[in-house]
Amino acid sequence: MKRFTAWRRRPWAGYAVVLAALAAIGAIYAGFSPRTDRAEAANAAQAAADLANGRQLYNKNCASCHGPNAEGTKDAKGRPLAPSLIGVGAASVDFQVSTGRMPAMNPGAQMPRKPPIPEFNTNIPTDFHDPAQRARAEQQKAQAEKNLADLRNYIQSLGGGPEVPSAEMVDPQGGDVALGGKLFRTNCAQCHNFVGSGGALTGGKYAPPLSNDNVTPTQIYEAMLTGPQAMPVFNDTTLTPEQKKAIIAYVVQTREEPNPGGNGLGRIGPVAEGLTGWLIGLSMLILAAMWLTAKKPKKLKKS
């Protein structure tokens, strides 16, 4: 177990897992798809079918707010209810849907991260022992990935926009982490805190934490590129792809870095430290003082 834990910490471990998963999906997908010696001819038809699937998914999950033609909707007073999706690009769709923020459940100050709806949930567990169950899960996962891709392509086909970055572009080991730290502190830390623990914004909004469970390197890239919700946009000509890669390297390496000094206390700075001093440090010392000054045990005395 210990060796396995250590092994998982290796920089390449994440990629190995992703690669293995992709290979498995590919193999299974190939197994399910019909024997295709007429694949070449079917390609165009397949693309059209995918786009249709994307449109169908859009109509089912998104159109109620964003309008039948993704033009956005307004309330009676003309205030926008949901923005137009024309030109937001595949990157935006991928970020919003894969983090579960869209489709939104209930409008609040801010759309929270949540598990994506089943149709788009690419994070379902597939490590079942039962082969049938595993196959079912893997099929579901593959379908979710296809659905997400189809929806992305559909929105992309409406008006272009930023594309989803490639795996190489978001490789956390490939970036200049020192530069990333500088750029992160100058442009990101004011909201997300110095290590990406998150922070408060106005009106009940908040900058979400950038932890492992919260955001993948691809999603970080997409967020910078598209500026979801209150977050400003950092397009590729303002922060170049190289700089974005550096920032991703900083975020990912920092969140995976152990705390050399013990428990990190949430890595939110002096507030947690003060609280620990008062609650833990002071209570322990008061208990010690009480013990020291408590009445001596009677039973020790000769009676």
Partner: protein, 374 residues
């Protein structure tokens, strides 16, 4: 003032309550407990002050062994600390090296030190509580003030000394001595003058001013804006065309300036692309923006933190230190928080090659208010 001088003179220990409760009549179920109050009787054994109580030898032996055990543990902790120190040096080629080693070393050294200290503390505590036989004793407090006689004697001696020294009889002596001492007190203050330069006009301009002047000397219209962190990356209008964009910028060439850190601390600026339909230029500054691209000083006008938190939905600029909030669409006017003034705005334009340029310094001093600011 001895309003509670009653009862026996035998002192009490505060924890006698439990003991006393055992002697009181048995409680009936359902009646309130008498806890929380200090109910007790005085210790019964009469013991001369300072004399030790006698211990039950078997219990004392047990306590002694427990204490010894803790002291041994403490010794182990101390030896462990030294061992951990030596072991920390074995990691990596040149002693301790980097975060993993620091972590291991911190745990090893810290646990050893904690064990050494706490085990010893616990040992001594058990020793005091179980083996030391001293009892509470009473001491009388003497009066703190000196008696009248002493005071009178002192006064007499003081006056006599003053008379002997002639200081009372010779006012010239007294006054000139005071005069001599007064400037001596001022001298150290003068000495502090060279702690720093006078403020002069330092707070009134930033590096944008000289940079624009320098650029104009070379026939340019203004100084280009580079991304903070990438000193060669000047921004074009087309680079920054996405509405909702934000980035921290500096005047080109600031990194090479004299006292670069001081200059950056004043000149650092946020560049924001406000959607053109939302943007309301301030009167007289209609041409200070480029299609909604607008630049404000990043230094908060409250106490000088970088006000850098931009929300593209509300167009608020928020300072994370004290939450002053500015409206980016409306000349960075204050909409909440302790800041009193808008963030100063930098006049922007675009040069022939399409680069964003600043055409002048900030029109007013950046950062917190000060007396001479006006």
């Amino acid at each position: 003032m001895s309003d509670n001088n009653l009862g026996s003179n035998e002192p009490m220990e505060p924890g006698d309550a439990a003991h006393a409760r055992n002697q009181s009549p048995k409680r009936v179920i359902g009646t309130p407990e008498q806890g929380g109050r200090l109910l007790a009787t005085a210790e019964s054994e009469p013991a001369p002050h300072g004399a030790g109580a006698e211990l039950d030898e078997a219990a004392a032996k047990r306590a002694e062994r427990i204490v010894a055990l803790f002291f041994l543990l403490a010794a182990l902790g101390s030896v462990g600390f030294i061992a951990a120190y030596v072991w920390s040096g074995q990691q990596g080629p040149n002693g301790m090296h980097g975060i993993e080693d620091a972590r291991a070393s911190n745990y090893a050294l810290g646990v050893a030190m904690t064990v050494a200290m706490l085990a010893m503390a616990i040992g001594v505590t058990i020793w005091v509580r179980r083996l030391m036989t001293s009892k509470q004793i009473v001491q009388q407090r003497g009066p703190l003030r000196s008696d009248e006689e002493t005071r009178a004697e002192f006064e007499a001696a003081f006056l006599e000394g003053a008379g002997d020294s002639a200081v009372t009889k010779r006012p010239l002596l007294r006054r000139t001595l005071l005069l001599a001492a007064a400037p001596l007190g001022l001298a150290p203050l003068v000495l502090l003058r060279d702690l720093g330069p006078l403020p002069e006009k330092r707070l009134r301009h930033t590096f944008w001013g000289p940079a624009v002047t320098e650029a104009k000397k070379h026939g340019k219209q203004g100084v280009r804006l580079v991304v903070d962190g990438a000193p060669t990356q000047a921004l074009k209008v087309s680079d920054f065309a996405t509405p909702g964009s934000m980035i921290t910028v500096l005047p080109e060439g600031i990194e090479e300036s004299h006292h670069a850190l001081n200059e950056i601390a004043k000149a650092v600026t946020i560049l924001i692309n406000v959607p053109a339909d939302k943007f309301k230029p301030v009167k007289g500054r209609e041409n200070w923006h480029v299609g909604g691209i607008v630049a404000y000083s990043k230094i908060c006008t409250h106490v000088g933190c970088p006000a850098a938190l931009y929300e593209q939905t509300t167009h608020h600029i928020l300072c994370p230190c004290h939450q002053s909030t500015f409206d980016a669409t409306d000349g960075a006017k204050v909409i909440f928080g302790p800041a009193a003034r808008p963030l100063p705005q930098l006049p922007l334009s675009v040069d022939k090659e399409g680069y964003l340029i600043a055409t002048d310094d900030f029109p007013e001093p950046i950062g917190p208010s000060f007396w001479e600011r006006g």
